[in-house]
Symmetry: C2
Subunit: 315 residues, 2 copies
DNA sequence: ATGAAAGCGCTAACAC
DNA sequence: GTGTTAGCGCTTTCAT
């Protein structure tokens, strides 16, 4: 007990006793057992996160933001990959809850009813990310995918594009991509542009799938003057494919992306895209979570971090 | 006790009893407490990993490979970022050991003496990654950074380049980049090429730092006909910067990278680089670890996954 | 095939 | 200021 106090509340011990204990701790090389500590104190100091994949830099940069905030507070991050499947997500969350994490971070707001039930029962602080909704499970840090897509379509229309194709990945982050798709379709109609045309390419978003989209579009006989990708990685792949095939961007077609990856601004032509501050989403989520894990309650349960249309050269 | 058996060794129970228990488990929504389980059984089912950063896709793709292997076995991954500092790494490891992980994954073979002592005392399965050494802490999955760099210099020399500059990041993965640098310098001398010239750009590797390197090289009055970057991200940034500035690649200068990122093959010109199979490193490390965590011992403690010079257009 | 006893390494609560 | 007692939710071991 005295050792426990020397380590956690040293001010409660007399100086001589404290020094004796800490000396002993050092010479013996004692490492407190956090497992036992967790069991006894009912707090694990663990934050669990479920992300679709680490392959997409969007998510890994966000995780870096989370780590930046929670690591100094002594929390550890435990990570699981859902591979974009909400039902596998439920199993992962169930397993993670067995670790009794003090907080949980989820990507997206689309979850199975089972997941929601699980989490309400567990009654732990939860933050959902990357999207907006009226009834989050608990807390939320995101932006409106619908409005962001609409804003991009408006920009494209303002620069004279009328037949804008939307390209989305299939295995992609279904729900959020769906929001962007709806924003795109609504804007196309509202602005009196061409018939909405959405192309779904197989597999998760990648440079290759963006290039493949360009190939498929040119095989189709319909005309188009701009392509709006639901993800910067695909859009970058498309820009490079156009370059390889001698298709002029933005001369022949305009290309726009989503996310503002580090690469995007450096492409030739620089990619027009919607900027999302991934680091901020991570840091903000971690801050909310930290507050709640320390028993305080944040002013707002829902934080809209917004977005910004980056008008560059490609469209 | 009967519940415990029903969950872990159902074959030990009679069918009626087993069904009764599992039914009850389901209706009550019982989730076993892995914290208590860990304390009692002295096995946590946790694999801890310390990586420099999630920002570089090299590491996140490797982590995906690790997850792919350990998740199906029921292990959870707990993650810490060292930001390339070996002394902060030691503190992180010490903290992680408090969680009593069943295995540990480290990037690199350069660790402080304190770290080595800590890990030998903890006597848990450890895998080091990304490099080769004669005395790993425990197990090792990597490749020779020295030989890989030499192979690239040989390729550049074979295509007529003589004044090859080497560019490395400063905050970079110091030890491994150092291996590549030594391989570069040795090869330059051995092949009788120009005087070795290594440029160190500030900060971690990024598209921006690669572009910055090109700017700095052209400010210098020395001549060069090829640039060998210690990382594909920087090399890609350089290729794009050359494109923006009208510098012909490979006509005016050759550019080579390291790692073979997904982007590299799609650049125009496609990037010549050294392919490292990051997913394989992750999966291989996870497999070794899994064996050891289950009490078996793998045939080899050291696995050289090799590398492959990808001769493409940029050099 | 099932149950009972003891204990994993810590901390909460209370005594002194 | 320091020590004592009890117990966190499981598993190990041994008994029946």
């Amino acid at each position: 007990m005295t050792v426990s106090r020397a380590l956690h509340r040293p001010e409660l011990l007399s100086k001589p006793m404290r020094d004796r204990v800490l000396d002993a701790v050092r010479t013996v090389g004692y490492t407190p057992d956090l497992v036992a500590q967790s069991l006894a104190s009912n707090r694990t100091g663990i934050v669990a996160a479920v992300v679709p994949t680490l392959g997409n830099p969007l998510f890994s940069e966000m995780l870096d933001g989370i780590q930046e905030k929670i690591a100094p507070l002594g929390y550890h991050l435990i990570l699981a990959n859902s591979h974009y499947a909400t039902d596998s997500e439920e199993a992962l969350i169930a397993a993670l809850l067995g670790r009794r994490p003090d907080g949980l971070i989820l990507v997206g707001v689309a979850h199975t009813p089972g997941t929601r039930a699980l989490l309400h029962a567990a009654a732990l602080p939860v933050v959902e990310l990357w999207d907006l909704t009226d009834d989050p499970i608990d807390m939320l840090v995101g932006f409106s995918n619908v409005r962001a897509a609409r804003a991009m379509v408006e920009h494209l229309a303002a620069t004279g594009r009328r037949n804008i194709v939307h390209v989305t990945g299939s295995a992609g982050d279904a729900a959020r991509a769906l929001g962007r798709r709806r924003g795109y379709e609504a804007a196309m109609k509202q602005l009196g542009l061409g018939e909405p045309w959405t192309l779904e390419v197989a597999g998760p978003s990648s440079y290759a799938s963006g290039a493949e989209a360009i190939r498929m579009l040119y095989k189709d006989r319909r005309t188009f003057d701009a392509v709006f990708f639901s993800d910067d990685v695909m859009a970058a792949g498309a820009v490079l494919e156009c370059q390889a095939r001698g298709i002029a961007v933005p001369g022949q077609i305009g290309i726009a992306g989503f996310g503002d990856a580090e690469l995007s601004a450096r492409l030739c032509p620089a990619l027009t895209t919607v900027r999302i501050d991934r680091g901020q989403i991570g840091r903000c989520a971690a801050t909310l979570l930290a507050l709640r894990m320390q028993g305080k309650s944040p002013a707002d349960r829902i934080i809209d971090v917004g977005f910004c249309v980056m008008k560059r050269e490609s469209a």
